[in-house]
């Protein structure tokens, strides 16, 4: 118990002193995971909407594929991205392995299926509700997409948070494609693993607490934002 309370004190101390090493790691974690969740949203929501709106051959197969990809372990994604981005791989000329960009690519691939699958859950009931009206007014696909996203924005916030949570808590992929390089590709999870392996359990726990506090802050922000928007209704 004393270990835990000591770590908590240590964590607060590090945060309040604005320890530059710690903030650098926190900032990179956010940069990588926020970028990944943005890319995954831009990629994933149209796919989810298309799956909700259109019935095409292979529709069921695509849904099964998306659900399966949701279960893909981060290390496997990491391995695939590693092989793609390595100098000997097909995208090797860009020299992206062991860079923050590689970490963003890996995390985007990791959470796009989550955004698609959860986004689908939001869009299907909305389409059931508005589908007839869309057909009646003969709206374009793009108008449909914007209407669906607008109507589902509160639930989509939860989808987005789920994706972000998955990305920022993930270690397998970023460790493999980022390499945990000091001052360059070290994020919170890889730093926690490193400090634990060095036996600096207090520091590791402090980093873990920072991660939790940050997650708490984001959720409070997101929920109060969502409530603010809902209140006039």
């Amino acid at each position: 118990m004393s270990d835990l309370s000591q770590s908590f004190g240590h964590a607060l101390n590090l945060l309040l002193r604005f320890d530059s090493n710690l903030w650098e790691i926190v900032a990179l974690s956010f940069r990588v995971s926020l970028s990944a969740v943005m890319i995954a949203t831009v990629l994933g929501l149209p796919i989810a909407a298309a799956l909700a709106i259109k019935n095409f051959p292979g529709h069921g197969a695509v849904r099964i594929l998306v659900d399966t990809l949701m279960a893909m372990p981060p290390v496997v994604i990491g391995l695939v991205v590693y092989l793609l981005l390595s100098r000997a791989g097909p995208l090797g000329i860009f020299g992206l392995l062991y860079t923050p960009s590689a970490m963003i690519i890996a995390q985007s691939l990791l959470i796009t299926p989550i955004i698609v699958a959860l986004g689908l859950q939001v869009f299907v009931p909305l389409w059931a509700k508005f589908g007839d009206q869309f057909r009646l007014f003969n709206t374009t696909t793009r108008q449909n997409l914007f209407t669906l996203v607008h109507e589902g924005r509160h639930q989509l916030l939860t989808v987005w948070l789920a994706g972000f949570g998955r990305a920022i808590a993930e270690i397998g992929a970023v460790m493999m494609v980022g390499g945990n390089i000091d001052h360059y590709t070290r994020v919170m999870t890889t730093a926690i693993a490193l400090e634990t392996s060095k036996g600096n359990l207090e520091m590791a726990m402090a980093l873990g607490l920072v991660l939790m506090l940050m997650a708490l802050a984001i959720n409070i922000l997101a929920h109060s934002f969502s409530r603010l928007q809902q209140s006039p209704n």
Binding site: G95, T99, G179, I181, D182
Partner: protein, 268 residues
């Protein structure tokens, strides 16, 4: 179209130019965990203004990454793997740059009875005969290669419950040994960095044996998937020259010198 631009712009916000970026050094956990890596990086930066990005892997993984063109130069302690890398044509030159020695560590009040002049080899043999718990790294590291060399010289093929494979780096393996009260081979530098946090003690230490040789291995630009940065040569010249060698000699932790510059004469 707008869609693609959005995607690209998110990506470009994060991209910087890597064309003539810092030097990618492939190296091992023992050098990071002892603090030497940071010391060398800072010294090299102060002299040449070139940043080093160290990718820390086991020695086996380092050469794999070098083959794929993902690192510019390797600093490892696995002579056999280093020689194989050079013989395959992928590596250009191997220069021994510094050394220390291996130790056997184990539980306090160890049940292992050894005479004062026992070597690591003798100790491993006794451990095996008494079937005492021993943790092998089993991660393709230089330390594991050394263990395999001793065992094959002894003609021992270990198996059974007392032979535990951790599959992890030196630090985590030491912690595992401490928790399980088992024996393991360790290098002098990592032991110095970790011993205060462990309930283990030194069983056999033979500094005069100087078995743990670290070497700098350059990558052949003609056979690699990507030619190494020009700064790799600069790092090579620096670390093998007087300034780099002095940086190694002067590196201390808690008043203890962890590495000795140059080549151990006993290297084989």
């Amino acid at each position: 179209m707008k869609y693609i631009i959005t995607l690209l712009s998110i990506f470009c916000l994060n991209a910087t130019s890597y064309a003539a970026g810092p030097l990618a050094l492939g190296t091992t956990t023992t050098l990071r965990d002892s603090g030497l890596l940071e010391h060398l990086q800072a010294d090299f930066y102060a002299t040449h203004g070139i940043a080093i990005r160290s990718v820390v892997l086991s020695s086996g993984q380092v050469f794999n990454a070098a083959k794929r063109g993902d690192i510019d130069i390797a600093l490892t302690h696995a002579p056999k793997a280093e020689q194989a890398f050079i013989e395959s044509g992928m590596g250009l030159a191997r220069t021994p740059v510094f050394y220390n020695h291996f130790l056997l560590v184990g539980p306090k009040n160890s049940g292992l009875k050894l005479n004062d002049k026992a070597s690591l080899s003798d100790a491993l043999q006794s451990l095996h005969e008494q079937r005492l718990p021993f943790i092998s790294r089993d991660d393709g590291s230089g330390t594991q290669a050394f263990e395999q060399k001793l065992l094959s010289q002894l003609g021992i093929e270990p198996s059974g419950e007392h032979y535990i494979k951790s599959g992890r780096g030196m630090g985590p393996t030491l912690q595992l040994a401490s928790q399980l009260q088992a024996y393991t081979l360790c290098d002098w530098a990592t032991w110095q960095a970790y011993q205060a946090k462990l309930s283990l003690e030194l069983i056999v230490s033979t500094p005069q044996a100087k078995q743990n040789q670290y070497s700098l291995v350059t990558v052949n630009p003609n056979t690699s998937a990507h030619p190494p940065q020009a700064s790799a040569e600069l790092f090579y010249t620096w670390l093998t020259g007087p300034a780099g060698q002095a940086a190694i000699e002067t590196f201390q932790v808690n008043g203890q010198q962890l590495f000795h510059a140059g080549m151990a004469k006993s290297e084989n």
